[in-house]
Symmetry: C2
């Protein structure tokens, strides 16, 4: 691989990387034995022992006996996460700001939803600072070391500037810099669907997949996230994954983006909702209503499902032919659509893609539900912290 | 980055990686000073000196005074490639097998084209073995250490099995294993457009780009290659990049792949050729004829250009919205089409893509012409060799 070639290393870098590799594995598996670490990382037992000791000293992990393996031989100590270091996760939406504190291992340990109509960036900053303070006060033994933000819009990767968030009415808002100045901690900002993909890859339906295509059906459109060789594909400036703007009908209706016949002009939450007589249902309500209507034999709903599936299949074919993903995960109203389909209808979803790629692709619905965006946002903050586990505040460690 | 986290390392691995990083830079830049190596790789002078010495001992590189920097201070020695180790590159096509020996730095030092009509895999193996022998005999001071093959078809990454090469009439042919058994050296096989992308990224129009989308217009269709964060995106099984099979017209003509309205059903070399009254022209002839026709004000040619550009723009919009690439490179008849367009027409190519992604994307024609597939195929073989530069045949080194 070209990129592996161009990495040069000294001894400190090696130690830091090995610490990061151990901590990353404990994080992703939510606890792992020393024996598993030795096997998974290909380092010898004493090296693993030294690395774990450093992580214990820095209050990232604890060790305890592995209760799962009583009996034969000496049990290998289980390395488990501590809740000493937390990150904050923030997801501003049309009518609510969802904020949580997330532990290593991706658990949301505290969460608060603040109702607010189309918040401005300044409101998001003020509410976020207050809520993180409130939530952190419930966890006096912990310390919040970083913040990740999931935004329903196009985010410039390098500085967390929100270039365009149509739902929120934002354009060129330097949200990352504003939050960083207010919170006094590292802040990372990214597109919400990218982070949903990241969460499903690490802890959800895509666990263990090397490549993944995630489609997120939301109130105002369809976003997406791409993972290749285990890495998020952000694009050259952070705007990759806009599967809602694949062309499916060149003669179609004009999209908010200006082009004709984008996927999100024809595969729509409101069309599914209308078919079951609902307005603005949440995902679970829509899901239940569609399944009930299918069970009741509703022809209206079958027509709607058939039409939505037809358009979705065109976009999936383009994306699958371009990316040959191992796993495709559908979230939001696309998950509701998928669950309402018959086995035959599901077969049709990839029928027009190249056979070699279609046969290799597994299609599932997202697993993490309403927690996926906060978990994904937290991953952004963990990325930076896990890269250098000895860089936690030393005064805090000593106290 | 998730994948960086999970890399663990010991001292041997570090040394091997650093050797690889030095050799890779010498390869990609076709020669570099020690001072540049120190700067580019972030290692100190004595470490770089030691690494270069190992590479000299293993006959990969030579050192000589840098003539470019006479005058001020002591000149930094220039590290240049040697032609001691070569790789073979093979590209079987409809009517010819193109075979070359390629040096470090991507120079085709020997080349031979064997005319043969729709060769079978067995014929490719026999001809390749003979031609590599003939070419190697012209270079008695060199030794061929590996072979890369560019196939116009879908290639399974893990074992070099050609799943489908419609032009050649191949299906499930274990070409990699067959060549390996005959040649007695490592053989890597990949899709031709992937390798075109790789060549343009390393030595051509995409030099230095972190992400690239390459579209290759060939006689029987349109292939593609994707690079993200400096790495080739092969897909989960090797079939990524099939941009010729993006949907552009759901009501369109049926494609050879079975779906309707794929890009390659409407953007066609033969349509461009027909507009200028040619049949089966090569790229250069088509290019010259289109430009002459545009200069002469041909309305027929303008109509053809406009139609082809319209369809191409739909596929580019989908791909750009999905991938947010830094660089888009057009090869083959797509390069001829592009060169025949006016500045205004070129503007229209990305006009329907999301503005944030379109404004970040640079669109160019391929630079490497008819050498790009052999250079790309050679890169496959270099990948493996450069990863561990001390693994050259020691008996050969000693002799």
């Amino acid at each position: 691989m070209p990129s592996a070639r161009s990495t040069t290393l000294d001894a400190n870098t090696v130690r830091r990387r090995n610490l990061a590799a151990v901590l990353d594995l404990v994080h992703r598996r939510r606890g792992v034995t020393r024996a598993d670490l030795t096997r998974a990382l290909g380092l010898n037992r004493s090296t693993i022992g030294d690395l774990v000791t450093v992580l214990v000293d820095h209050q990232w992990v604890d060790e305890r006996d592995d209760q799962r393996r009583a009996g034969v031989g000496r049990p290998s100590p289980l390395v488990v996460t501590r809740d000493r270091w937390l990150v904050a996760a923030v997801n501003p939406e049309l009518d609510v700001i969802d904020i949580g504190l997330v532990s290593l291992g991706g658990d949301i340990v505290e969460r608060s939803r603040t109702v607010v109509d189309r918040p401005t960036p300044a409101e998001v900053v003020a509410i976020t600072a207050r809520v993180i303070g409130d939530l952190a006060a419930r966890r006096p033994e912990a310390r919040v070391l970083g913040t990740g933000v999931a935004v329903p819009g196009l985010v410039r990767r390098e500085d967390g500037c929100v270039r365009l968030a149509p739902r929120l009415g934002w354009r060129d808002e330097p949200l990352g810099a504003m939050l960083n100045a207010q919170l006094g901690m590292p802040v990372e900002v990214a597109n919400d669907a990218h982070l949903g993909a990241r969460a499903e890859l690490t802890f959800g339906a895509g666990r263990g997949a090397a490549s993944l295509l995630y489609l997120n059906g939301g109130a105002s459109g369809i976003g997406g996230g791409i993972v290749v060789d285990g890495r998020a594909v952000t694009g050259s400036a952070g705007y990759a994954g806009e599967i809602g703007h694949l062309s499916v009908d060149p003669q179609g209706e004009r999209c908010a983006c200006g082009a004709r016949g984008c996927l999100e002009t024809v595969v729509r939450r409101d069309a599914l909702a209308a078919a079951v007589g609902l307005e603005h249902p949440d995902d679970d309500t829509l899901d239940a209503a569609l399944q009930a209507a299918v069970a009741a034999g509703s022809a209206t709903v079958q027509d709607a499902l058939r039409e939505q599936l037809g358009w979705l299949a065109i976009a999936l074919r383009s994306a699958v032919n371009l990316l040959n993903p191992e796993h495709i995960v559908l979230g939001g109203h696309l998950a509701a659509l998928w669950r309402a389909l018959s086995a035959d209808q599901r077969e049709a979803a990839l029928a027009d893609a190249l056979a070699v790629s279609a046969s290799a692709a597994r299609l599932d619905v997202a697993e993490l539900g309403s927690t996926r965006l906060l978990i994904g946002a937290a991953e952004l903050a963990w990325d930076r912290l896990i890269t250098d586990p000895t860089e936690v505040p030393l005064d805090a460690v000593r106290s």
